[in-house]
Amino acid sequence: MVLTTPPVEPVIRAEQLTKHYGAGLHRPGHGGGPIRALNSVTLEVAPGEIFGFLGPNGAGKTTMIRTLLGFLHASSGSATVLGHDIATDSVALRRKVGYLPGGMAVYGSLTGSASLDYFADLQQREPVRRDELAERLQLSRSDLGRKVRDYSRGMRQKIGVIQALQHDPELAILDEPTEGLDPLMQLAFYEVLEDLRDAGRTIFMSSHYLGEVERVCSRVAIIRAGHLMAVQHVDELLARRKRRVSLRWRGAAPDLSEIPGIADVVATRDRITATLSGDVAPFVRAVASPSLVDLLIEPARLEEVFYEFYAGEDGDEPGGAG
């Protein structure tokens, strides 16, 4: 007898998902015509993973999220979320999902507590994680008792995070979740995500920030102009990334061209800038010298990585949708 484990049902499964906005008036050479926000996107997100959805502004990240949640209607293709078809069963799927929109909007006339109560009531699930989340994100009772209109941007974002996660959803869909959070709160938020993952929950988050994705995501999809360019494990992505390096040097500038992974070298009087791909260690060993005054290795921004690896490939047309 052969024992086989049943195949794991993906939490999100999109097949050829396409979203085009409006026919518009198209005249060759004058722009117009439909906006191709998503083009035949196919991907699967497994249970229990933190999945990053990456791309520059206008790439189609928000369009993908809004289509999955039923705010936008797919032009073609299909998708299921937690087994529910997004076209026919979106109300049922939203019962199991927590959603943080980009640029979280709040009811200014309500207190933080009243806002969370309202959203919890509409969710029709107990806000079992609210107190824990408020504590970890440092929203005190007195903060929650104040009108939301008096909140800072960061505090509003915290309310957004709590309303998305307070009912312990099976799937959290988070659109740019750390916008407005200070670095300490970002760290606290990453720990919350990791705890949710450890508890078997699934996170689907969009982000501009490669560092954030490196920190928490196991897999990522990269989208550009509505085209899914890659779905990779983070380790694979890191192996391809480039960093911008900058050195200040005393005396004659060293020759960096022999160092593995170094490119785009620009030398001025006392400063050298370049890009570095691959392992950092050989580079650091090569430049370690008493003549080195300063060394800066910047983490590459997602946009830079994206365009470095995908420039010239398919998908150059504008996306036009977040």
Binding site: Y21, L72, L122
Partner: protein, 266 residues
């Protein structure tokens, strides 16, 4: 319908509801006073040859108590009081939340767009019903205080409220239909105000210019005449017309709202 959305929508309107409600009560109480005070003056003007139609206002006049009650509902002040909710709150109900971005936070819950529409629509109609009831209560209060209650059939007064509610439910339904059709409150409120203004223009134009009195037939205001109702002359066709004016925008809203793409707020 979501009772939670209904309750929250009414909660947000509570301050405005109290202020406008008190104003409606006071305005209603003034109407019989105007009638008692100016009736003799106006009749004297007519005996001196002043054109009677210029002393009318819409479908109302100050020559009868019923006519004065009609003026109470058709005067710009009376209309403005009810329009705060039937036009302003209704047109803002969906488009306003859409513009600020809170709609998507609400609709991310297990709540269909139709349920949301029905819930905020019910809240608007409850507010309108309360304002109309207070305006009418003010009129009844004034009528009893001035001792002119024998001039109308007081039993018909609740019917005035019902038909008035139908008239303003029609405007609210149109405003809500505009609200679900736009992503910004400006166009929704503008369209709703234009609809109200056109109806009002046709009603007033016909009352001042007898040659153009046919325009009144095209105004919803003409189909709510408290003066005729309190004298037992309600025309059933008015109910049909107002009913159609309610149902058509409701059907449009229920059809279009679930089909619209709700892109990210700008």
């Amino acid at each position: 319908m979501s009772l939670r959305v209904l309750r929250q929508s009414l909660f947000w309107q509570r301050g405005r509801l109290i202020a406008v409600g008190l104003a409606a009560l006071a305005w209603g109480a003034l109407i019989p006073t105007f009638y008692v005070t100016f009736q003799d003056l106006f009749e004297g003007l007519i005996e001196q040859g002043f054109p009677e139609n210029l002393l009318n206002f819409g479908s109302g006049s100050l020559f009868t108590l019923g006519g004065a009650m009609t003026i109470g509902f058709q005067h710009p002040l009376g209309i403005g009081l009810v329009a705060v909710f039937a036009i302003g709150a209704a047109a803002n109900a969906v488009a306003g939340e859409r513009e600020t971005g809170t709609l998507e936070v609400v609709l991310a819950r297990p709540l269909s767009r139709r349920r949301f529409y029905v819930s905020v629509g019910a809240a608007v109609k409850i507010a309108v019903a309360v304002i109309l009831a207070l305006l009418l209560a003010g009129q009844v209060l004034g009528i009893y205080l001035l001792g002119v209650d024998d001039e109308i059939d007081m039993v018909m007064v609740p019917l005035v409220w019902v038909v008035g509610l139908m008239l303003w439910a029609a405007f609210a339904a149109f405003s809500l239909a505009a609200s679900v059709s736009f992503d910004r409150r400006g166009p929704a409120i503008g369209l709703a105000l234009a609809y109200l203004g056109i109806n009002y223009f046709f009603e007033i134009l016909g009352s001042f210019l007898p040659d153009l009195d046919w325009t009144q037939e095209y105004s919803l205001f003409h189909h709510f005449n408290p003066g005729e109702i309190v004298t037992g002359n309600l025309d059933p066709i008015d109910l049909v017309i107002l009913g159609v004016a309610i149902v058509v925008p409701v059907i449009w809203a229920l059809w279009i709202f679930p089909r619209r793409d709700l892109a990210a707020p700008a």
